[in-house]
């Protein structure tokens, strides 16, 4: 039973993690497509149309990969988590139904105009379609983040006849963590998109190709990347305050506080040792955590010891992923800040080292997204619905080990192939470069 559960967990985590690579890119790209289409509508410069068409082509590859990796997910909740879905399906299924009726349908319908309608519809209709695709993608993110947040901080429900029943849709949707998580996830997605675009543009500029397009892309992407990167720790602070109030064990594990203390330090680094309840090689700012959490440098911080051991999340994993995310966040502030500074001084074109560095920064936001989610999801353990249902009570009991092994291997192969093909094709597209668009007929 233990291994069956473990495979179901890893399979779900891996398929979601890979799926997430693509929607997060979609969210960022649609933002830039809407911006350039709006600029095109306002100023009617061909340059904007060239840029937007180029981004739309990248979006086509990313979008289909998102669809291909996403199709399995809603069903896998039923297939692998049967006890969970019969327990909470009426509520969670309603949210996913809402997502597909409002967001998936909108996005996948209007994206047809984006991909196939450039010379078939008026510029205004085209702009409107870009906007609707942007709205659809972000609405989709909202629903799924709301569903996930409900698992972390359940609200608006009652338990009737041993099942979860929705009693208040708005309360369930806007539970304690939805809005702050949505803000953090969307900012992360825009940062991801901005650094992807900056990386691509920097390759062109370093090689002296597509100068006008590349400069315009950098002028759009770098300031946006900086704004998002700076916003992220601020939003993150409010996020962790929310975690502190609603999932206190998780917060203690994130911060690596085993023993309750007054005047707790904010750790920047360390290796947690759950057995001995210490953090090795701890380094950080003394008393800062107390200050951040309670406004008083000597404030009281509750440690993991205050909670029963069987309710602890795996401290190692979530302490490490959380701090990795923060380090990556700091690195991205530095990179984007330097870029904006160079641009402001008019030295971006000649800073070849910086331009060569930028493409290598593309993976950082993806990594931050992954570790962020791993921390959030593993940090919820041992609960699948916090304080309502344990993950070990959620899986499908009838699935034999061999079937799970086959499915896991199959999913691993197919999902890796999709990722591989998509990354290669985007590289090819980028090497081909943006083509000046044909004049409007």
């Amino acid at each position: 039973m233990l291994t069956e559960l473990l495979i179901s967990r890893i399979q779900f985590g891996v398929s979601l993690g890979i799926h997430y690579l693509f929607p997060v890119t979609t969210l960022g790209l649609t933002l830039f497509i809407v911006i350039t289409e709006t600029l095109y509508l306002a100023r009617r410069k061909e340059l904007y149309r060239t840029i937007s068409s180029f981004l739309v082509k990248i979006l086509a590859l990313v979008f289909v990969a998102g669809v291909a990796t996403g199709l399995l997910l809603p069903f896998s909740i039923g297939a692998n988590w049967a006890r969970f879905s019969s327990y909470a399906g009426a509520l969670l299924g309603s949210l996913i139904a809402l997502e597909s009726l409002t967001a998936f349908a909108l996005e996948s319908a209007f994206i047809a105009i984006l991909f196939f309608g450039r010379d078939r519809v008026s510029p205004v209709t085209y702009w409107l379609s870009a906007l609707l695709v942007f709205v659809g993608a972000h609405l989709s993110a909202f629903w799924i983040v709301a569903a996930n947040s409900w698992l972390q901080t359940p609200a608006g429900y009652a338990i009737v006849d041993g099942r979860v029943v929705l009693t208040n849709l708005i309360e369930a949707l806007l539970n304690h963590s939805t809005l702050i998580r949505f803000a953090h996830v969307i900012t992360a997605a825009w940062l991801t998109g901005a650094l992807l675009i900056a990386g691509i543009a920097a390759t062109y500029l370093a090689r002296g190709q597509h100068g006008a397009v590349a400069r315009k892309l950098l002028a759009l992407a770098l300031p946006l990347a900086l704004a998002a990167a700076v916003a992220q720790p601020i939003i993150g602070h409010f996020h962790i305050m929310q975690v502190l109030h609603h999932n206190p064990e998780k917060d203690a594990a994130y911060e690596g506080i085993f023993k309750s203390v007054d005047g707790a330090p904010l750790l920047a680094f360390g290796i947690p040792d759950e057995q001995h309840q210490v953090i090795h090689f701890a380094a950080g700012a003394p008393r800062l955590l107390s200050l951040l959490e309670s406004g008083d440098p000597m404030g009281h911080v509750t440690g993991l010891e205050a909670f029963p051991c069987e309710n602890w999340p795996p401290v190692n994993v979530i302490f490490t992923t959380f701090h990795l995310m923060i380090m990556l966040g700091v690195a991205m502030i530095a990179v984007a800040g330097l870029g904006v500074f160079l641009m402001w001084r008019g030295r971006l074109d000649s800073s070849r080292t910086y331009l060569r560095l930028l493409p290598w920064v593309i993976p950082l936001p993806y990594l931050a997204n992954q570790v962020g989610w791993i921390g959030a999801e593993i940090g919820r353990q041992p609960w699948i619905i916090y304080k309502v249902m344990r993950t070990s009570e959620a899986s499908t009991v009838t699935l034999p080990l061999w079937q799970l092994s086959v499915s896991f291997a199959g999913i691993l192969i197919v999902y890796s192939a999709i990722t591989f093909i998509t990354v290669l094709s985007i590289r090819k597209l980028v090497q081909k470069g943006p083509l000046p668009s044909l004049p409007q007929e």
């Binding site: 082509k57 039923g78 509520l91 099942r163 009838t398 079937q403």
Partner: protein, 334 residues
Amino acid sequence: MDLQSYQTGVYFLVSLSFFLFALLDGFDLGIGLLLPFARTREASGRLVAHIAPFWDGNEIWLIIAGALVFAAYPVLLGMLLGAIYLPFLLFIAGLIVRAMALEYSYHDPARQRLWHLAAAGGSGLVSGIALYVLGVFLLGLPFESAGVLSQHPADYAAPFPLLVTLAGWVILAWHGLTYALSQAPAAATPISLRTLWWGVVSASLALLIGWILWLPQTLWRPSALIGIACCAAGIAGARLFLQRPGWAFRFSCLTLTGLWTLITGSLYPAVLPARLHPEWTLTIASDSAPASTLKLLLTLGLILVPIIIAYTWFIHRVLCRPKNRSRNPADSLA
């Protein structure tokens, strides 16, 4: 409204979503099935061009239907997918292959024919598994005990689902072909329209005989009679208007509507019918979500489904205007 009306209303909402999937993605799948019969790369490319902008939007109806089932019948999805886990994953794999293949036939023109064949394989897998499972549902599923489905593949083997699969393939191919012709009336077809029409006639007759043999008890419901009449009218009408562009497709839609009436009418009110022990059948009364959830789903469905249909129709109109038909969609993508 009382609880029972909500249960019935949501049943039809779910059934309508599956029907829209069959009707809309049906022509995408049908065209997929026809691709191997197109002799040249240009010919299969023309067929793919008709569905390239739309397949994803059409496929959403499957997700909508699945999500509604998840919400409205929480026990059903876990029970069913736990029992047919691997076939179900193959079904998803088919959808994945089709999605990637349709996209990459534009991005990777050097291997276009290969991508077209992959799209055909994906379409065959998706429609084949869906049709077989439909057949099993109509017959009733093999239960081991109350609330537990059999895990043995042999218990799912039966001639009727096989018949549904084969006949369904022919009907979908016909649906796809008539759709392609409604888009490009003068184009050469991979299979002659007349031949395929005879195929549809034989498939329908075989299906009717199978139904009489294995499911006689449902044939006398009024819905069954109406459904069969619609099917017959759709097939006969298509023959009469074979030469008028667009009409064969409309009649094919009528045929599918008839099949839907027949199928929904004979399943209702079961959501998971049991073959040998009817008392184990899950029905809308025994497995529906609470009234508040049903009310929410029904309200949302009544508002949102017409809106989705309206903008889908708008986009079809915009992208398929006659002056746009000759354009090659590949121009804007690759």
